[in-house]
């Protein structure tokens, strides 16, 4: 499904060159839920953003369903339509109602009729439990509700993969649960997911595989049981000691 081969992302700024992602290789199978954890600045978000082309990577290959993102001929917009993304800051369109947030890309990109898009949107809003807010503007919603709308917006494109970039980090603690519940439900339904998060409980419960990153590299990969109970690497042990 997704194959990353030796992905390198170099940011060059005035303060020098930063290898944000430094030779990451991994594979994600269809229906698999992969949780990426690591200290801040470890390059996990940057890697995630490389997967849907929000960051262009410097070296390596990312192949999604047989399409190589490093290939110049690849239409990145077509790839993105298949790869849903949920952001830390929700990034809902504030000038559009909840329903319009969900229908816009369906109509523009998937070329669905308004009716078809709206039906699909209402079904998804029901699924994430906020169908009664369809006509509201995002500013009237709580953080948790906004994030659930953002998930529904990504799902409305019928993506093959969902990427979550710290989806609960900007939420008030009491709203984290409702968003994680939606994500758990998605995982149970067999959605392929890559989740960057600090929610260790979620990782333990839902992940098929945990990837631990530090300084742009994959330090340790394993099942949640293995990773949380008996990690091999020192760096991973240190990190777990600090967060658990």
């Amino acid at each position: 499904m997704i194959k990353a081969k030796n992905v390198v992302k170099i940011f060059s700024g005035r303060s020098g060159v930063v290898r944000a992602v430094d030779g990451v290789s991994t594979e994600v199978a269809r229906g698999e839920v992969v949780v990426v954890i690591g200290p801040s600045g470890s390059g996990k978000s940057t890697f995630l953003r490389c997967i849907n082309g929000l960051e262009t990577f410097t070296e390596g290959h990312i192949i999604i369903d047989g399409v190589d993102l490093a290939d110049k001929k690849t239409n990145i917009n077509k790839v993105r339509a298949e790869v849903g993304m949920v952001f830390q800051q929700f990034n809902l369109f504030p000038h559009k109602t909840v329903l319009e947030n969900l229908t816009l890309a369906q109509i523009r990109v998937r070329k669905r009729s308004r009716k078809e898009a709206e039906d699909n949107a209402l079904m998804l809003l029901k699924k994430v439990g906020i169908s009664e807010k369809a006509t509201e503007y995002p500013s009237r919603l709580s953080g948790g509700q906004q994030q659930r709308v953002a998930i529904a917006r990504a799902l409305a494109m019928d993506p093959k993969v969902m990427l979550f970039d710290e989806p609960t980090s900007a939420l008030d603690p009491e709203m984290v649960g409702e968003v994680l519940d939606v994500m758990k439900q998605l995982a149970r339904e067999g959605m392929t997911m890559i989740v960057v998060t600090h929610e260790m409980g979620f990782a333990r419960e839902v992940a098929d595989r945990v990837i631990f990153m530090d300084e742009g590299r994959v330090v340790e990969v394993g099942t949640p049981e293995h990773f949380f109970t008996n990690p091999r690497e020192e760096r991973a042990k240190l990190f777990l000691k600090q967060v658990l």
Partner: protein, 319 residues
Amino acid sequence: MNATNKTWPWRLLLVVILLGVAAGTWGAIMKIDYQWRWKRVPQYFMYQAEIPQKIPFDGRVGAIVQNGKEMRVTLISEEAKKVVRTVAADSLKVSEGEDLFIGDIVGFSKSWRLGPLTLGLWTTLWLSAISSVFALFLGLITGIARVSKNITLRGLAMIYVECIRGTPLLVQIFIAYFFLGTVFNLSRNVCGIGALALFAGAYVAEIVRAGVQGIPKGQTEAARSLGMTAFQTMKDIILPQAFKKILPPLSGQFISLIKDSSLVSVIAITDLTKSGREIITSTFATFEVWLIVAAMYLLVTSLLSQLVFYMERRLAVSD
């Protein structure tokens, strides 16, 4: 502490200051020898024109029939051809049976005509309106080019904006008329509109650039992550949000444009300002005319402000 703030003393102070300014101005005017002739002004808004009605052939006057305040005069030629001329009753110059030669005046018909102030205002309005439309398009394109990734586009936009903002509008109008107008054989109206549009366009571009850059990056990322193209993102996500934010400075720019359009009077476009100057040369009512002209500009710009205020409230629903 007293929690309730009393506002009435400050309101009173405001009124006192305004009255003071008015009284001071009044006193200063009274000191100089100036004959106020407000009565002369209304005719420059609208006046009753007297159009001479002439006999188109050699002939004589037939029947004259009164019809209210008008007289219907039947004129009969030597070949017994009849025409009817309608003139104002008090301007009738002929009587029944009188012999006339071709071109003799039968009387005058009266009709209302727009005066130079009204026509000047109209010129100012359409000149500003057309310039605004061009300026908006130009500014939109340039503003987006300014934030483009393409260095050529960015460079062109920057040079345009810097050149226009770094030179006075009056000089630009002269260049547009005397240089470009001569080289490309353009009419004065085209030169005037072109200069105003180019000038306002540069400022609109800066406003648009600031507006687009003021939209969080996450909006672009969210739209692009859904597979929308750069163009769709700009059109559906960035510009609608940016437009809401830049409406106040944008309207300020268009209000400026209306005022700046007074400068095109230097290339002999008869706008409101030029009309004012022309009226003064024939009436010497300098004070009255300039005050009236100022009031007319003020009226137009405040109407525009009100319109924008209304639009802002309409657009605020999603906040």
